[in-house]
């Protein structure tokens, strides 16, 4: 089990990091030939940073569009964010201040994440319009995240695993050293699913996380009359 997960985690991490890096590089390299911010839009770069910040942290547009979905989305994503931050404790030898800060929120955040996911799934099945645009991969993604959340919560609250060993395993991995994992089926399942998530991440709609920051309707300044915006391929048309 230890060797299997050591290899699997190394491969998954590689796929996640390399896949994301390639996608982000592709987004960054592709030019945006025209100014298309959805107006009213900020006139300055600082304003754009604020707009993106509000979108990423508060889901501003979603709030204007659908309050109930916004609530579910917030519950899930905030829960997820806290859970992710807290997981840093398995990788750092000493626990950082941010991790310590969210530590007391661990249990509510895990619950929020799972509850948010369940509500999102329910909504996907119940609302006719949303069901229409749902494909198998959309359901599977929620099920995968739910399964990760539920196995994690189960270990936290019901069938405890030896987290000291888990931490040793991961800090060992980062130091390229093999230390044993607890031989625990629930933990095995949890880790297996996490690896799956890491592998599919760069090939799925989870690209919305980095992608949002490249969305031209949100990340462009509204100054087309003041500053001439010209993509390299469009500039070449002018040489003719």
């Amino acid at each position: 089990m230890t060797i299997f997960f050591a290899i699997l985690f190394s491969v998954s991490t590689l796929v996640l990091v390399a896949g994301l890096a390639m996608k982000i590089a592709q987004y960054a390299r592709t030019p945006a030939p025209l100014k298309i911010p959805t107006t009213p839009a900020p006139l300055t770069t600082g304003g754009v940073a604020l707009r993106l910040g509000r979108e990423a942290l508060l889901f501003e547009s979603l709030f204007r569009g659908n309050k109930l979905l916004w609530l579910f989305a917030m519950v899930f994503h905030l829960g997820l964010a806290v859970v992710l931050i807290r997981h840093a404790r398995y990788f750092e030898s000493s626990v950082g201040p941010l991790v310590a800060l969210v530590q007391p929120l661990a249990q509510p955040a895990g619950l929020a994440m799972v509850a948010g996911l369940a509500l999102l799934l329910l909504r996907r099945l119940v609302i006719e319009r949303v069901r229409y645009v749902t494909g198998p991969s959309d359901i599977l993604m929620l099920v995968l995240l739910l399964a990760i959340g539920v196995t994690g919560m189960a270990m936290k609250c019901l069938i405890h695993t030896d987290i000291v060993m888990v931490k040793a395993f991961f800090t060992g991995l980062t130091a390229l050293e093999l230390r044993p994992l607890p031989n625990d089926p629930l933990l095995g399942l949890h880790l297996l699913l996490v690896c799956l998530l890491m592998i599919v991440f760069p090939f799925s709609k989870l690209l919305h996380a980095p992608g949002l920051f490249f969305s031209p309707t949100r990340n462009q300044t509204d100054n087309p009359r003041e500053v001439r915006h010209l993509a390299p391929w469009a500039a070449r048309l002018e040489e003719k």
Partner: protein, 500 residues
């Protein structure tokens, strides 16, 4: 109104946000005419679909993906959350689920996934990936011509996905393989050949303008000029050709002329740039958009003007405000004190604020106005120097000209405005059912203020909106003359005499 061969949507209360149940296939048969070879060739597009078009379509898709970050990113980042599903006027009016923005985009995305993503190549069924086939192409043709590129979906999408960008890309791909749309491509051909969308030749324009000068003189006793091709004028006015042709557009043109006259600013129209509209945007073709824009640059140079001002037109203003500097700039040969281009409403509102013109509201006695924010002005452009000026400036001009102005339901104005139903290259007779049904959210909000606040007229600032409303208002038992140009109101109110 004669009975229409289709059901007219029942208008509800805009505050309740009525959303129809899904009616799959309701609009499956709605499509515009396919462009004939004669419409395709002048634009450099193949005349018809020929052997191997599938591969050419995919190759063209690949090329667009590498040229447009919008397309590239939007293909990947949709989370299928459905926040956009009840935002499109064509869905609200027809109930056809493929008119939900995400479903429309998925017609394109399914093909993208099949050819450009590992998941679509390995497990097409899992991620809804499809091969490019004739059936898929026909579905594209029908449903990407049921999108007016109004960008309403982009306002509410948490990822900022603008389905208009995807419609434009789909149309460009279809043009590139020989399945273009007749209406848009025929019009672009006319712009290249004659100079404007309506195909009005120079002598006809001169005639019209002379006639208008006589009308104004008869009515006001003031010799207001409508100059064309006048060397050395200060301002080049570029306006949609409908302004030379139909009511209420032409009443707006008279308004611009009176404002220039009262302000004492010399101006001219141009036979070469006798069209503000740029249908190159509707077909998603950068080259065409650029060629059409270059006419304005050439006209401005030839006439030696110092400023360029655009007349009332929504999508024209988006191309002008957001793209003109990119497409046909830099404008370093014009007067640097003014933005290039300016909107006629910026010009007029500035004059009103400086008391450079006088308005007498009694010229519009008895009218209660509301205002329709044109989609491409609201969500694709700006006026003035502050975000949202595109909402405050037209309202300021209208409020200064009429006794009473009220707004429609807040979820149907400003950046949440609904498209008139005829934008984006859909203003053609064979799409009348789509146009009437797509207008229903706007009609609903209009009826609300007519019933509750006694509104008599709706001001519009776009040639397409004006033409579309004139046509569809009667289907909803409104008078076709309810829609008026903003500068028609200015025209009725402006005091001409004592400025001379």
């Amino acid at each position: 109104m004669a009975a229409a061969p289709f059901d007219i949507p029942v208008l509800g209360d805009p505050a309740e946000h009525p959303v129809p149940a899904l009616k799959p296939g309701a609009m499956a048969a709605s499509k515009p005419y396919v462009a004939a070879e004669a419409h395709q060739q002048p634009l450099g597009f193949p005349g018809e679909l020929t052997e191997g078009w599938e591969k050419r379509a995919i190759d063209h898709m690949g090329s667009l993906l590498s040229k447009y970050r919008s397309l590239r990113v939007f293909m990947d980042i949709c989370v299928k959350c459905g926040a956009c599903t009840d935002k499109c006027h064509y869905f609200l009016g027809t109930g056809d689920p493929k008119n939900m923005p995400v479903a429309r985009a998925d017609l394109f995305r399914s093909v993208y996934r099949r050819y450009f993503t590992p998941s679509g190549k390995i497990a097409p069924g899992l991620v809804g990936a499809r091969d490019m086939t004739k059936d898929v192409l026909d579905e594209w043709f029908n449903y990407f011509h049921q999108c007016s590129q109004c960008r309403r979906c982009s306002v509410f999408c948490p990822q900022g996905i603008d389905t208009a960008e995807i419609s434009m890309a789909a149309r460009d791909i279809m043009d590139s393989i020989g399945q273009g749309q007749k209406y848009c491509n025929e019009i672009i051909g006319k712009v290249h050949k004659i100079g404007n969308n309506l195909g009005l030749p120079a002598p006809a324009l001169l005639d019209t303008l002379e006639g208008l000068e006589e009308d104004i003189l008869d009515e006001t006793g003031v010799p207001v000029k409508l100059p064309i091709d006048e060397q050395g004028a200060e301002v080049l006015l570029v306006t949609p050709s409908a302004d030379f042709f139909a009511e209420p557009h032409v009443l707006g043109l008279i308004g611009y002329a009176k404002v220039f006259h009262a302000a004492g600013v010399s101006w001219t129209l141009s036979t070469k740039a006798s069209e503000a509209g740029n249908f190159g945007m509707f077909i998603g073709n950068y080259d065409q958009m650029r060629k059409i824009s270059m006419r304005i640059r050439e006209a401005a140079r030839e006439l030696g003007v110092k400023r360029i001002i655009f007349g009332e037109c929504g999508h024209a203003w988006r191309v002008a405000y957001s793209f003109l500097n990119t497409l046909a700039g830099p404008w370093d040969f014009l007067d640097p004190r003014y933005p290039v281009p300016q909107h006629i409403l910026e010009f007029t509102s500035d004059l009103i604020a400086r008391k450079g013109i006088k308005l007498d509201k009694s010229g519009n006695d008895g009218m209660v106005l509301t205002v329709h924010d044109s989609c491409n002005v609201a969500r694709g452009a700006r006026m003035g120097d502050k975000p949202g000026g595109q909402f405050t400036i037209p309202r300021a001009v209208i409020a200064a000209s009429v006794p009473k102005l009220v707004d429609m339901h807040p979820d149907t104005i400003c950046d949440k405005t609904f498209c008139c139903g005829g934008g984006g290259g859909l203003l053609t007779d064979e799409l009348i059912e789509l146009r009437v049904k797509g207008a229903s959210p706007r009609m609903e909000a209009l009826k609300d203020v007519v019933d509750k606040q006694g509104v008599t007229h709706m001001a519009a600032m776009c040639a397409i909106c004006k033409a579309q409303f004139t046509k569809v208002l009667p289907y909803y038992d409104f008078d076709r003359e309810m829609v008026v140009s903003v500068h028609q109101l200015v025209s009725n109110a402006i005091v001409l005499g004592d400025n001379d």
